[in-house]
């Protein structure tokens, strides 16, 4: 009972703080659109004298075409290989000289580049980033070395990693026509046959100010930032972008299953259902929120349903996890992953998962379970403000999926209005066999595994 009191007072506290936060949002976050179509979002946060500077291009692996998978990510690597004025490798040396941290990442939805610097160095890194938006100029020799590096990255992260291989097969099986079926890093054979001109074509197609969003968070003044962004990014000419075909995935007509044999000890099971995602302009649709909350009811804390039943009580799984991303450009999956406990079969784990889901479908969830999740979401909103980089990431990824940064708070507020009945309803409606793809890792022993391996 006492616990309930605390919970409600916490909800109240967070709700009031939230209102206050919302109140100040317009004054600390600013959005501008340059004449060349580049969008700029600045969030002022003066807690420490540092800045995160990011540029997001709305071009990820889902924009690739057959035979050229991985080119978005390869180009990300080539972006460090020189412009008309800056030699190969010089970009990183110049960022390092001002004390910056930098990197880049590619996803199915976008490619993003970032630097974190002490605030007086912002303009230096902005100048460099704006330069490579339109003046990239690498030679073939650099490409030939870097494509080897990318293949090493694929060997490291996928070829020698059974969980990644399993996920790769899961995606390729779940989706028939959506480009989400291809891995971001690309298929090895496509990498082996990729050319420097494939990468250059990609750059010329997508790296335009009208396909980019610059996000800057930290100890800055929005007006001054705007002036700098106008100066460096404003001079880049806009250009028409290639047509994006919708490539909508056709409806799934029955369960699918795929098996992957790879070196491992324990079997792994992935169950993935096709579910809706949040769509821009339809922020009131309850289902994506209910699915997001269902994720947390099943896996959001140590005593959440799947961990409790599969790992602690029935001991059929060693680890279990649930994933769903309601904010994305492409189709969404609701995925449950389990690594099996010693001596348990995939059938046993599957039965336990289905039993736990059936319980939600038939009996619903407790009000207290849902409140617990909603409280966590609220407290995380305070904790996330500890990191300016985290805030830039949230703004950028939301924008890339077709939403506005202004939607972030509305989405979180809407999350608080979802009822236990709505969570039960999405479990019933979407977690059904017709939309299910199952991927199973069948562990193989290594040929030479432990020979000579005793110290």
């Amino acid at each position: 009972m006492r616990s309930n009191l605390i919970r409600f007072s916490l909800l109240f506290l967070l709700a009031t703080q939230h209102l206050w936060a919302e109140d100040r949002t317009p004054s600390n976050t600013h959005e501008f659109l340059l004449n060349n179509g580049l969008k700029l979002i600045v969030r002022e946060d003066h807690r420490a004298p540092t800045v995160a500077h990011m540029v997001w291009y709305r071009a990820g692996s889902m924009d690739e075409t057959n035979g050229k998978t991985g080119v978005a990510h390869v180009l990300e690597h080539m972006m460090f290989k020189g412009t008309d004025k800056v030699k190969a490798g010089e970009f990183s040396r110049l960022v390092a000289a001002v004390g910056g941290r930098e990197n880049a990442f590619t996803s199915r939805d976008y490619t993003a580049y970032f630097q974190q610097v002490e605030k007086s160095k912002l303009e230096e890194v902005m100048k460099l980033e704006a330069d490579r938006m339109s003046n990239l100029n690498f030679d073939d020799a650099e490409f030939l070395k870097e494509i080897q590096v990318v293949m090493e990255e694929r060997r490291l992260r996928t070829e020698d990693n059974p969980s990644s291989l399993l996920n790769e097969s899961l995606m390729a099986t779940a989706f028939m026509s959506s480009p989400y079926r291809h891995p971001v890093v690309g298929w090895m054979n496509d990498l082996q046959n990729m050319t420097a001109s494939d990468a250059r074509d990609w750059y010329r197609s997508w790296y335009k100010p009208n396909n980019a969003t610059v996000v800057i968070t930290g100890d800055v003044d929005a007006k001054q930032v705007l002036a700098s962004v106008e100066k460096y990014y404003g001079v880049v000419a806009a250009k028409e972008l290639p047509v994006r075909k919708p490539q909508i995935e056709p409806p799934q007509r029955g369960a699918k299953q795929v098996q992957v044999k790879a070196p491992a000890d324990s079997p792994q099971l992935s169950m993935a259902w096709k579910v809706p995602r949040l769509e821009p302009g339809k922020l009131n649709e309850p289902d994506p929120y209910a699915l997001e909350l269902l994720t947390a009811v099943l896996d959001g804390y140590d005593n959440a349903r799947l961990n409790r039943s599969l790992v602690k009580q029935e001991k059929v799984a060693n680890d279990v996890g649930v994933g769903y991303d309601m904010v994305s450009r492409g189709p969404a999956l609701f995925v449950i992953n389990a690594t099996l406990a010693k001596g348990k079969t995939v059938e046993q784990a599957k039965a336990s998962i289905q039993k736990a889901l059936k319980d939600v479908q038939q009996n619903g969830i407790l009000e207290s379970e849902l409140k617990r999740i909603q409280v966590r979401i609220l407290s995380e909103q305070i904790y996330k403000r500890d990191s300016i980089f985290g805030q830039a990431m949230e703004i950028g990824s939301t924008e890339m999926a077709g939403f506005s940064w202004k939607d972030i708070d509305s989405i979180l507020e809407r999350m608080q209005t979802i009822t236990p009945e709505q969570v039960q309803a999405v479990a019933k409606k979407y977690l059904v066999d017709e939309h299910l793809t199952i991927a199973i890792l069948d562990p193989q022993s290594r040929k030479l595994a432990s020979k000579g391996d005793k110290p």
């Binding site: 916490l10 967070l14 080897q148 990255e153 391996d453």
Partner: protein, 445 residues
């Protein structure tokens, strides 16, 4: 070389080596409580607080034949404890942490166990979180059924890890570099199987006492509130206990013929994994800063290090290549590593060895030194720009007995490093004829 030099000089005049004028937040030392030292950094802008308790109870104290014990002792603290009103089950603990909107977690490294708490700073909430964490820290129940379950989970994870190239490499490398020191032992199916609930309780009783604990707090609390947190966290913990014998000293990696310190492990992975390294220094060693600056140049500086340039940029041999020192209260180690397509193992090892050997023999160039110092000094604000990073810094400073003004003088210490100091420090602590080498999965050997 000349060109690079000119570029660096140019950068210098352009950006300068100006440390941020922003004052670094001070670390306040609180009154000790039952022998536990306590420290606070006040940051008021967010209504939250981060709390850490470091316990001198790391993996190095695992008894012979029971490797994995320290990990289980800490890991099982969230799975049941005796609170003020009786037993708290693992489910009750997890639910309460969630209801309070808090995070409580334990982790263990070679040297220490660490409890970390993140809570909203409002008094009634934070009091409840601290009370819960105090019960977990002082009176874990180590229920036999849960111990059995978690042992089995650990064993299953170990069997899985043994199929992974990076784990097999790391385990072998550790056993070679740590020699007779306890950290040479990694948990195994056998050692974890041998652990009993009584072992857990006994280890907890011996090591989890306040004279082996340090509390660090960062966030929206004042001195009086912080003091209250420390007292509530530790009041049920005994101040002291039986004498704990000192550990064997970590012996410096000896000079040995290559055949004695190089190992090839056959493995049918697509990539060969390589590790090379030896024992090095403690964090409070006066040569820490020359080694830090030098390692930035050799293999620590992201995309601009020599290893990155030789292995990745010039030859396309690897995605990841690095070197680092991991100094602690004990002498830590120096380690370098990479992964490459299995038929390139020999070539990559040769390039890595030559790069390291050359650096030890000749040290950095003037321009490299200036570039390294520019990065470290200009980038220092990024190491302390939020509560979590501040806590990491405070934690390291107080654990390693460094001066409390370490954050304030850090950039000066970097700037003071000379070329000769870097070269001398690398020659003093590292030597190619002492390096342990493990090559796993190379196909041409």
């Amino acid at each position: 070389m000349r060109l690079l030099h000119q570029i660096t000089i140019f950068l210098f005049s352009l950006f300068g080596l100006i440390a941020s004028a922003q004052a670094t937040l001070p670390i306040e030392q609180l009154e000790s409580f039952n022998g536990a030292r306590a420290y606070l950094v006040q940051t008021k802008s967010l209504p939250m607080v981060d709390i850490e308790v470091s316990i001198d109870a790391g993996d190095r104290y695992d008894p012979a034949g029971k490797s994995g014990l320290a990990d289980l002792v800490a890991g099982l603290m969230t799975y049941g404890a005796r609170g003020d009103k009786g037993l708290l089950s693992e489910a009750q603990i997890a639910d309460e942490i969630a209801d309070l909107g808090a995070n409580i977690g334990f982790s263990v490294s070679g040297e220490r166990a660490t409890l970390r708490i993140r809570s909203l700073s409002r008094k009634d909430l934070r009091d409840r979180v601290v009370q819960l964490a105090a019960a977990m820290l002082s009176a874990p129940s180590y229920d036999a059924n849960i111990v059995a379950r978690e042992k089995q989970r650990t064993i299953t994870s170990l069997l899985e890890a043994e199929t992974k190239p990076e784990y097999v490499l790391e385990r072998r490398f550790k056993s070679m570099v740590y020699g007779n020191y306890p950290l040479a032992q990694s948990p195994s199916v056998k050692s974890v199987s041998a652990i009993t609930p009584a072992d857990l309780a006994q280890f907890h009783k011996r090591f989890y006492r306040s004279d082996r604990m340090i509390v660090s707090i960062v966030g929206d609390v004042d001195q009086a509130q912080a003091k209250e947190i420390v007292q509530n966290l530790l009041k049920k913990i005994p101040q002291t206990g039986p004498n704990i014998p000192t550990l064997t000293q970590l012996q410096r990696s000896p000079v040995e013929p290559l055949s004695e310190r190089e190992v090839f492990i056959p493995f049918d992975s697509q990539q060969a994994h390589i590790a090379m390294g030896m024992t090095a220094v403690t964090r409070n060693n006066p040569d820490y800063f020359p080694l830090l600056v030098g390692n930035y140049i050799l293999g620590g500086g992201g995309f601009v290090s020599r290893l990155m340039s030789e292995v990745r940029e010039k030859r396309g041999l690897a995605y990841s290549v690095f070197s680092y020192f991991s100094p602690g209260k004990d002498a830590g180690i120096f380690q370098a590593g990479l992964q490459t397509k299995s038929d390139q193992g020999s070539l990559a090892l040769e390039v890595m060895s030559q790069t390291i050997a050359n650096f030890i023999a000749n040290g950095p160039t003037v321009s490299e030194l200036l570039a390294a110092k520019a990065n470290l000094v200009n980038g220092y604000p990024l190491r302390i720009d939020n509560n979590r990073k501040l806590l990491d810094n405070v934690s390291s400073i107080v654990w390693n007995d460094l001066p409390l003004n370490t954050m304030e003088i850090w950039t000066q210490q970097v700037e003071a490093v000379t070329l000769d100091q870097v070269t001398a420090a690398f020659q003093k602590y590292l030597a190619m004829d002492r390096m342990k080498i493990v090559v796993l999965g190379a196909q041409n050997k």
